[in-house]
Symmetry: C2
DNA sequence: CCCATTGCGTAGACCGTTCTACAGAATGGC
DNA sequence: GCCATTCTGTAGAACGGTCTACGCAATGGG
């Protein structure tokens, strides 16, 4: 089967076996112009019978590596699993492979990973909700084709973006709660060290504030924040629920936070719904569990991932202009926000 | 700062700037033998002032890529986040970078990803609970240094393994439940298409069966299985809980399943604990939430990941013999298995 | 029938490292 | 002071692809 001193079957072995030149085999590999069907078939059959596999490092020296880097902020949030599923779907029938890194929401690690991906000659990057500054993102995008998920930057033409309409999502939640009889509605947001205007949570907050105003609830507007860690979310939630003016409903920027709020509410003996309504965002799988029964906003991570991968491969193929894809969110009502008794 | 026609700073630019040969710079990069401290310092300073970054593809042509591939079966289970955290900890101060792929528990995708990783000249692989056959794993390990997490194969010398003592874990659960007054204890396992003897769930079942025997509960032994999907787990759980002989306690092979069981129990109006005790495995973060309060077995994914990365880098450095690391599990009791009232 | 065009295939430089082989200088034992 | 050994550093061939430049045939328009 295999051959060569090193055991590895190279493009040269294939060329010899098929009785053609090395360059011809390379053309077949790249689907390049200037090969007849007959030659293509002959080469492909040789590749198959020899068990040839292209050597990515060698390709990376001059051409593409057919590898896309995906940077996730976190592995604990199952929403990102949906995004990855979408990316994999999009790449299924292509030559591309996605490799992921996890930034753990730390800008230093994000930088290290992006550098590592650039060093490894990846053909493009999908950054999911990165924490980096805009200037840093633009520097990256100038080096390598980049698509962003979960960061609202329709202005910049350097990268493509894929987003949920987070402002609408925020509005949907407030309207739903108001319709079900809740008026004193708080928003539980993420404590971002460098408050940009483009983070999803900021847009959700904008929608929340606007809807509160429109419904005449401007006075009841209240925003609390906490960092990513479970511990600090619990502390903030407890503080909020024990405060003199406990809100009737809490809209959380992501399901993960909402689950912690449900937990604290239960510890304090508060009934959900009844004493308190809770709404999350992302509609992750845990919302469906009966012990959570969490109302949430569905933004289809799968579609987000799929579109990002599609836009990125297009850009790699040469598109210069930026494209911005927006999905429309949808509220999935469950009992955690049922009508007040 | 930078230079060269392509913008990229190469080893040649560094050599020229430092007034030494290309080979000397390469030696410094690889920490190879035969460079004086003076030369090393000079080269390092040149690298720094030019902003040199090694080109991974070029390195991959002859030497190492300093990239390790990690294959996870699934992104939804937060236990794997712990493993990744451990791997990242171990690699923190090394030149290595981890890139992950997600097999989605499908052997075909696992193969595609492993192939992709081998093609990309990764220096080693960490496979987490792979679904592949032993023969396939051995074929992979013969090609590339490999460490396994969550697969009991102490026999094979081709790869290192890192595991929890799953049999002990199973025993701990049964003993704990028996002490708290439960006798009719069922085990909820994973439906593996190709039933190997090495999967974690099989070992947990062995521990469960042994402990049931030892405690004189052999008659009450009962095992149900379901595939990975939420839907099918729910169906199996419902069937079990509505059966004529409803068990007093259910020991689930992983937390994810236990959460679904809790959900179904609640839908059926069963009190946990009281009508039913539930125990999970992995002690993932959701166990702590008050609405779950799920007793579970802690096996420290972080330690598993850290050890796997350590063993793998050792093996890459040349160790030939196999090593097998085992962590001791610990039961974390919460109210889902509290003493029967 | 001539020349331009298009289709198909080849030769060989090139990408940025690693690594082998070797050379010259310094050291040390006797 | 000689030779063996160790220490530093160099030259240049790999590695396995991609890609540019080019050559030869076949085609087709006038």
């Amino acid at each position: 089967m295999a051959k060569a001193r090193n055991g590895r079957v190279t493009i040269r072995d294939v060329a010899e076996d098929a009785g053609v030149s090395v360059a011809a085999v390379s053309k077949v590999l790249r689907d390049a112009y200037g090969v007849s069907d007959a030659l293509r078939a002959r080469v492909k059959s040789s590749m198959h019978s020899l068990g040839y596999r292209p050597h990515a490092a060698a390709r990376g020296m001059r051409g593409q590596t057919y590898t896309l880097g995906v940077l996730l902020p976190d592995l604990r949030n199952p929403f990102f699993a949906d995004i990855m599923a979408g990316i994999n779907d999009a790449l299924e029938r292509t030559q591309y492979q996605a490799m992921l890194g996890v930034g753990l929401s730390a800008t230093s690690l994000e930088h290290a990973l992006v550098d590592a991906m650039v060093d490894r000659q990846m053909d493009g990057l999908i950054l999911v909700a990165p924490r980096m500054q805009l200037a840093e993102l633009e520097a990256i995008a100038a080096t390598i084709p980049t698509a962003l998920i979960g960061l609202h930057l329709p202005g910049s033409s350097l990268f493509d973006t894929v987003n949920d309409d987070d402002q609408l999502g925020g509005r949907l939640v407030v309207r739903h709660l108001q319709e079900n009889g809740y008026r004193n509605i708080a928003y539980f947001s993420l404590d971002l060290p460098s408050r940009g205007q483009s983070a999803t949570t900021v847009h959700r907050e904008l929608g929340y504030r606007a809807a509160m105003q429109e419904l005449g609830l401007g006075r009841q507007t209240r925003v609390v924040v906490a960092p990513q860690t479970a511990r600090e979310i619990q502390v903030a939630a407890r503080h909020l629920l024990e405060s003199r003016q406990r809100p009737e409903a809490i809209f959380c920027w992501t399901d993960f936070v909402a689950l912690e709020v449900l937990s604290v509410a239960r510890e304090l003996g508060l009934a959900v719904p009844g004493d308190l309504a809770v709404v999350g965002y992302d509609n992750t799988s845990s919302c469906d569990l009966a012990q959570n029964a969490l109302t949430s906003i569905d933004q289809s991570g799968q579609v987000l991932g799929l579109q990002a991968a599609r836009l990125l491969t297009e850009r790699i193929k040469g598109r210069e202009s930026a494209e911005h894809f927006v999905v429309t969110p949808r509220l999935v009502a469950r009992s955690s926000s049922a009508r007040r008794g």
